[in-house]
Structure formats: C-alpha cells, structure tokens
Amino acid sequence: MSLSADLLWLIPALPLIAAVVGACAPRGAFKLAAAAAIAALTGALLLSCGALATALAAPAAKLASNFTWFDLGHGAVRLGWLIDPLTALMCVMVTFVGLLIFVFSTGYMRDDARAKQFFCFLSLFAAAMLGVIVANSLLLLFVCWELVGLASYLLIGFWFQKPEAAAAAKKAFVTTRIGDLGLLLGLLWLQDSAGTLLLYDGGKGLLEPAVLAGLGGSTAIGLLLFCGAVGKSGQFPLHVWLPDAMEGPTPVSALIHAATMVAAGVFLMARVFPLLTPDALTVIAFTGAVTALIGALIACAQNDLKRILAFSTVSQLGYMMLAIGVGSWVAAIFHLLTHAFFKALLFLGAGSVIHAAHHEQDIRQLGGLRGPMRVTFATFAIGMMALAGVPFLFSGFWSKEAILHATHAWGVSQLPLYTGLAAVVLTAFYMTRLVAETFLGAPRSEPAAHAHESPAVMTVPLALLAACAILLSLLAWPSPWLQLLLDPSAAANDHADGVGLMALSIALVALGLGAGWAMYGRKPREKSMSADPLAARAPRVFAFLAARMKFDELYAATFGRAAYALAVFADALDRHGWDGAVRLLARLGRFTGLVNREADEDGLNAGFDATSESLRKTGRAYSRAQTGDAHGYLLMIAFGFVVLVFAVLFGGAR
C-alpha cells in the first residue's frame, strides 16, 4: 500500500472532518464524536502507513504536491504537501500515539458533561498537527502551527470554569505567540529574499540547493525561525507556559507534551535544518542544553504528578534541541519518536492514577498504588525506565545515547555535553522519586486508599505504549536504521570513544537511580505532611526549585511590568495627552470667539448704529408722502403717463 503526495491532504482532512462532525453533533452526543474521532484517526493512521511505505520505497525522493491557494496580481500564494521519510515517520507516530490517546480518553472523559466538545477539540488538534507535518510550505506550516496553538488553547482551557485553567490557556497562547511572531518575521524574510515559501518545488523550493545557495545562509532567519520553535517547544526562556498547561485534562497533557505540539518545534527545526547556519546552531545547542538542565533541576522539586512530567518534558525537549544544535537532527528526531511513546505512556499512566485517585495528583497524597493498580504500575515503570535511560532494553536509552554521542562529537564546545550528562543523573533521580512516592509505601490519603485499576479501555493503550517504548529500540539497534533512512550522509560517524561515553552514561543513570532509591524508595514517606527528604537536606535550594526558579516572578517583574507600563502610557497619552491638546484647542476657539464678539459690539457696530439712526429719520420724513389713498396713486400714475407721452412727443426726447 502506498500513498501519492496528491492524496496526502487526506491525512489531516480526516480528523478535521471528525472535528466538524463533533462540532455539529448535538450536545451530549459523546459517543458519536468519539467514534468519529477514533475512526478518522484510524483512517489517518492507515494512510500514514501508506505514506511510510511510499517514503521507504524511495527515501531520498521528496514527493511534493503543490497547488495555488489564491492569486495575487503579481504571483500567487502557493501551498503544498510533501512526503519524505521524516513526514511519514512523524505521521505514523502522531496518528498512532494519538489514536491510543483517543481511546484512552473515551475512558477518562466518560463522565465529563462536555466530552463531545473534548473530542471535537482533540480531532482539531490532531488535524492541525498533521497539517504541520505534511506541509510543504512554510506558510501552510505556519497556518497549521497557529491552529495547533488554537487547539491547545481550547484544550488547556477545557475546564475553563477553573480560573487557573483559563489563565494557563491564555498564558500558553500568548507565550507561544511571542515565538510565533518571530517565526512569522522569519517567514516574511524568507519570502522576501527567496520569493517562495515552498520547501520543495522542483528545484525552486527553499530547501533545494539552488535557492539555498542564493540565500547565502542568513543567521537571522534561522534564529527567527528558532523563535517559533522556542515558543512551541517550551525552550528556555519561553518554557514557562508548559508546566501551567497541566491544567488541562490529562490526555491533553499527553497529546501536547508527548506526541505532538511540543514536538512541533523540534520537527520544524529538523525540517528547516538546511537553512540553519553554524552560528544559529550554536545558539540552538546552548539553548537546548540550558533547557535540559533547568527542566531536570526543577522537576526534582515538584510535588504535582503531572508537573514533574511536564518539567521532564521541558528537559527532554532541551535534549532534542541540543541534538539539532550540534548538527544531528536525526538523533533529535529519534529521541522525539521514542520520547513521544514513553512520555505518552507516562502521562496516560499518570492519567490512570489520577482517574483512579479521584483527581488527586499530589504525589505526597498518593502512595501505595502498586497493589491495586498492577497494570498501571508495570507500564508506568517501563515508561520511567525508558525516560531515565536504563540501558539496552529501553528505547530511551538508545536515543539519549545518540544525542550524547553527537554532543560529544560537536566541535564548538563541550559545555553542552556536561550539562547533558548532569541532566541524565537528575532525570534518573526525579523519575525514581516520582515512582517511589506514587506507587510504593502505604496510601497517604483517602482517595489513594480507595484507588482501583482503571478499565481496559485505559489499560490496553498503556500496554501498547509500553510495548512500543521497548520495541522502538529496534530503530537504532542493532543497526542504525533510522540514521540510514533519514540522513545517510551522516551515518558514517565514528564510534571511536562510543563505548566509553556509553559506560559513563550508564554509570550516571545508575547513580541517579541509586540516589533516588536511597532517598525515597528505601524508606517511603509515612504521612503526606512529612517533609521531603531533599527539602530536609537543602531547604533553600529545594524551595527555589519548587518555585520553578522564580521564572514566573521574574517575568512578571520585568516583561509584565513593561507591558503594563506601555499600556498605561498608551492609555494616558490618549486620555491626557492628545485629548488634552484637543480640549486646549477647543478652549482657545471659545476664547477667540469671546474676543471677537466684544470687538464687534464695541468697535465695528458703533458706526453702523449712527448711520442707521440717520437713515431712519430720513425714512420717517419721506413716509409722509404715503397718503394711503389708492385712487390717488392710480390717478397720479395715469397723469404721469399722459405727461410722459406729451414730454416724449413734444420734448424731442425721441
């Protein structure tokens, strides 16, 4: 089965249709919406597999299908679809993970009154995300990119009655929009200098050698495009929205954090990789490294189940960016794929826990769930080990190793490697802490005590994802298949000191796991109120990390204040500045009128008064001639006529 590029639009179109169906369905038609969404995504999955087959058949061919959106007087705005291995793999991943998440959601959202809308939004989200992936035009990509933002806004704010959810949704949208504006500017710049936004267009596309050479590699363009990725993928300094986005329902978190939205930034960078200059890559690499470290650090001190996972996502995305920055975008994509599966697994597992524990997600209140929730625990543990990078069996290990190796091979600086290694330790540590606090020990609260295993509709996806988290190792081992598929040219990098680095990293993982076990696993916490062992040892550091390194406060104190000041200034300028000027003008006009009137009364009118008085006197004198006798007048006229005739006749006036 294979799919031609002309039909590629079907992949995003199917979920879009499902979204429309969901939107039009009557209120409460939960089953209809869910069925439509799942069916559409199943169809999209099948089509994606077809696309993958197409791509595998000819890995190097960029099968594009372009069309004109609308004409302008000069030229036209053109869009297009593209099949290449990157697109196809992403499609399969997104549809597959998405499908599992959809299925999971049918269980998770069963009791929500607005579940129908939820599926509508989910479908919209999936459609937009697939649109981003299959786009062969940066403009189309941007359009879908924004729609992804809209869908995430709707989904994060799904429980909009909660003020926190509403605020988080707005924060997510605005923050990502800051990045999007950079992306937009980058797009405009590209359009202006290259004259097109199509990626592949039979030799005239952006990513094709002719145009690339013409562009001459502008660092600024690359950085502007990266701005978009920073916003979307939650990179430092715009990562602050991501943890807040946990206010949405858990499947949303899974969808946004694991599979799709946050990956969009990485995907974008991988997609436009040829456009990036070494300088730009350096910036990307350092941003990624810093993000990886910060995310991991903050994750260590969080108590919210999902928030820990969120910061872990930030950290992992940092890894991916780091990989791109050091030039190995294949490693980034590999990690993106593996991370998508195991992070989705973790989030869905967390969702299962939360669902079971009646929406209790503070790990201090949980505990002891291993007994009642066996399947969840088992799958969650697999996910945790994949994320922590437990060697050999789990896919996360391989993808992380790929990144570390690439970083090691980077010629510019070794600093990112060290931060990456530090993050490895921290990752293993906080994941251990999470599992130990949640599943081990005794239940520490009423909901946790009464927790029970979730229904099959939720556990089956977990199991499938767990299997994938393991099986995806095959992509890299025993043969670097993915590398060969995506970027054969870079596949021949040397593994000279590969073994040494691998050993170091395994040791570091063990260190992280051990430290976590020592602190949390060995002697689980008794009561929910008891202090965190880490907090007991370094209270100030823990508090700082727990407050997310005070980023929100910092932003509020700087950018927030600046924005507020600008708003106040703009408003005051209107109310007092310009309006005041207008009022002054009005007052001036009134004053002029006053002066004018006085001058008229006293100066100009005096002469007129005198003249009129004399005229009136004259008139009175003349009016005596009016006798009021009409006959007299007539008589006079007649006589006058006769006299006139005689005058004319004899006066010689003729």
Binding site: W69, L72, V174, D192, D571
Partner: protein
Amino acid sequence: MNKLPLLSLLVFAPWAGAAVLASLRGAGLRASRVVALTSSLSTLVLAALVLGSFEPARTAPQFVERHAWIAALNVHYHLGLDGLSLVLVVLTGIIAPAALLASWSVGRPRLFGVLFLTLQGSALGVFLALDFVHWFLFWELSLVPAFFLIKLWGGPGATRAAYQFVIYTIGGSAFMLVGFAAMFATTGSLDFQQLAQHGADGSLAAKLGAGGMRLVFLGVLLGLAVKAPLWPLHTWQAPAYAEAPTGASMFLSAVLAKMGVYGFLRILWPIFPQQLHDAAPCLLALALGGIVLGAWAALRQTDLKRMIAYSSLNHVGYCLLALFAVTFAAGRPGLTGEAATAALAGTILQMFNHGLSAAALFCCVGVLESRAGGRRGLHDFGGVRTAAPLFAGLCGVALFSSLGLPGLNGFVGEFLIFRGVFGLSPASAAVACLGLLGTAMFLLTFWQRVFHGPRAGAAAGEFADARGTDLAVLVPLAALMLALGVAPHLLLQFINPLVTAWAGHLVLP
C-alpha cells in the same frame, strides 16, 4: 440609458427607504423595523446585481454615470465603481442589515431606521462618487445621522461623544475642503480622475507651486486622517464608538472608518503620489504608533466597547501602514511589484475583514450589554461560556478572526500586509509585530475575563444564550469569516487587476 442606473439606485435606495419610513407616521414598531431592514437589504441585492456584471479585468471605473450638474463649477454627477468600491459596497451591504438586526429592539425604531438608512446611503455615496463635490457632500452628510444616532441612543456620555465626533471630523474636513478649493482654483476640475491625471503629469504641482502643493496635501491629509483615524487624531474614536448604540457602533467602525482609508486610496494617493512619498517616513511612524499604542491602550481599557474601539484603531492602522509603506518605497530602484501588490491587496482585504470582525465584536458586546442591563465593564462578567456556549463560540470566532488566526479571514489580510510591508520597510513590519502581540493579549484578556472562570457578575444569574436576531447577525458574519479565511480569492479576484494597475503606475520606478 438602456441600462439601469445601478449605482444611483445603490446610493438612493436606502434614502428612499428612509423617506418612506419617515412618512410612515404611526406605523407599528415591528413594521418600522421590517421596513428599515428591507430597505437596508436593498444594498446587498443591488450589490449582487453589480457583482454579476462586474468585469474584474477592467481597472477603470465601471457602471459610470456622468451627468452635468453645476455647469458653472464644472461639477458633474459622477458615479463609478471599481474593485475597491465594490468591496466596500459589498461590505456596507452586509454590515448595514446586520447592524439594523443587532439594533432590533432599540427604542423609537422608526427614527432610528430613518437615521440609519440615511447614514447607509451617505456611506455608499462616498464609496461611489468620483467627483469631489458630491463625494464631499456625502462625506459630510454621513455625520448628521451618525451624530443623532450617537446622541439619542447613546449611553450617559453620548452627548459629549457625539459633539466631539462631529466637531473633530468637521474640523478635519474643513482643511480638506480648503485644499480642494485650491486645487479647483488652479485646475478648474474637481473630478478625481482628472485631478489624478493632473497630479501624475505634474501640472498640478506646476500650478500650485511646491509649497502650495504641500499645504494642499496636508489639508487633505488632515481631513482623511481624522476620519480613518490616523494616530494621534483618533481621540474621538473611543468615546464615539463606546457611547453609540450597538448598531451604530457596528456601522461606524465597520463602514464609516473605512471611508477614511478609502479616501487615502482614492484621493490622496493618486493625486499626491510625490507628496505622500515625501511624507511617508513620518506617516509610517504614525501608523505604527496607532498599531502598537492602540493595541496596548486597549489592554488598559475596562469598558469592552472602548477596548474594541481601540482594536479598530489598531486594525485600521495596518491598512494605513501598508499604504504608507508602499508609498514610502515607491520608485525605489529594483523594486518589483510583488511586495506592493501584496500590501495593497492586503489593505483592501483588511478593510473588509476588519469590517466583519469589528461589527461582529461590537454586536457581541452589545449582546452582553443588553443581557447585563447596560453594564459592559471587563469585570462585570465571568463564565459566560458556561451560561451561553453558542454565543461564546460565535464571539470566539469573531475574536480569533480579529486576532489574526489562520483559517479565519483576519489572517489573510494581515499576512498579505506583513508580507508586503516587510518587503518594503522591514523595520516597520518588525515593530508592527508588537501590535499583533498586544492584540492577542487584550483579546484573550477579554475572552478570559468575560467568558471563562466561574459564572460571576451579570452572568451569575439568568443569562440567555444567543437567539433570534443575535444569531441572524453573528452566524452569517462568522460564516463569512470562515469562508474568506479559507478562500480569500472570493474577494481578491475582484481587486487583483486593480491593485496590479496601481502598483504599475504609482509604485514602480
């Protein structure tokens, strides 16, 4: 004479409706409303007729009607329609009935209808006139009904707002009148096309002298800038829009504000290309001021209507920005038409788009206001989406269209404008991005405060969902937004040749 004088019909049909309505003394409320709405719909019907026989490829005005009027002053009754006018006429045709529907339950509907129809006819007259005298006549005539609409049906500060609106605008147009008088004195013509011809071949400048030409330009500019409005001449706008009744706000922001931009495109640019080019850096700065400061000032407003008014300033700013960028770059060596056409097409599209979204937003605020018994503060609501999901959805469409979300109409216009402006003046585009950010912030604040969160304020109690007239206004508008967002060539096909021609003879070196 074998053809129907469609354009005259377009202009005078609303007036005829107004006359009929005015003479229907003692008509029932419902009858008055229906008559007003029917007459107002005439524009849409006639616009459809015009669309049917419009030839997009011809850039010269079509359906021209030219009759001698005041022979002594060389004044003609001269109507014509090109792509630009067409777009605005269609916009008027859509917005006017919508605005009347939105004001369905207003008191004294007969008087309201009469004034409104007069306003509608005047606006159409402005969009179709090709001779200064009756263009100006309609231009000024539109103030009278607007004044009364604001004053009689407006809120507590309406009287002040109405006076401010009228005096401000008349003040501006006085300068414009003087400017045209000077031009008439030198050329003896008041026909736009002839004046443009004079402006293009330099004979106007030769007769007026450089200084005189500049003064005339400034006068005309002032008149148009007040109407558009161009920052910082916009201070009449927020109070006027805020105090006007819903229908009037819709029409004022959606159609009347376009008269200013239309004037820029129809009059100022063709007649004074050189002067505009010289002044462009300064004007660009002002347009940017409007875009950025308008958006941020909106963030500070607590009155929802004022907020939308400022968003109007911001959105109209994009139109002006594009135009000024085009004139700024005019004649630059090596310029291709692509950026200029994109910017100009974007301008016209944006005019239409903003008309739709501003009208829809004002309508939404009007619905909120009526449900809340006259309150329309940002803090008077909460959780409306829970109470009225359908209404929230429709309002959301308008909001996101205004915000420039792809897939809705706002995006296409703004993208084209940015695409053009970036090619002509990249720094301006970069600064204007701040405006986009501000827009997103204040619109989402609006959305979050009013629609999200727990039900509070006016939405805490009984709060009806959208129904009847609300739906009749909002659903077609939302549908249009979606349609234009997906298929912008529905509109662009009518203006592309025109814009290309403009770029050809006014921009390229």
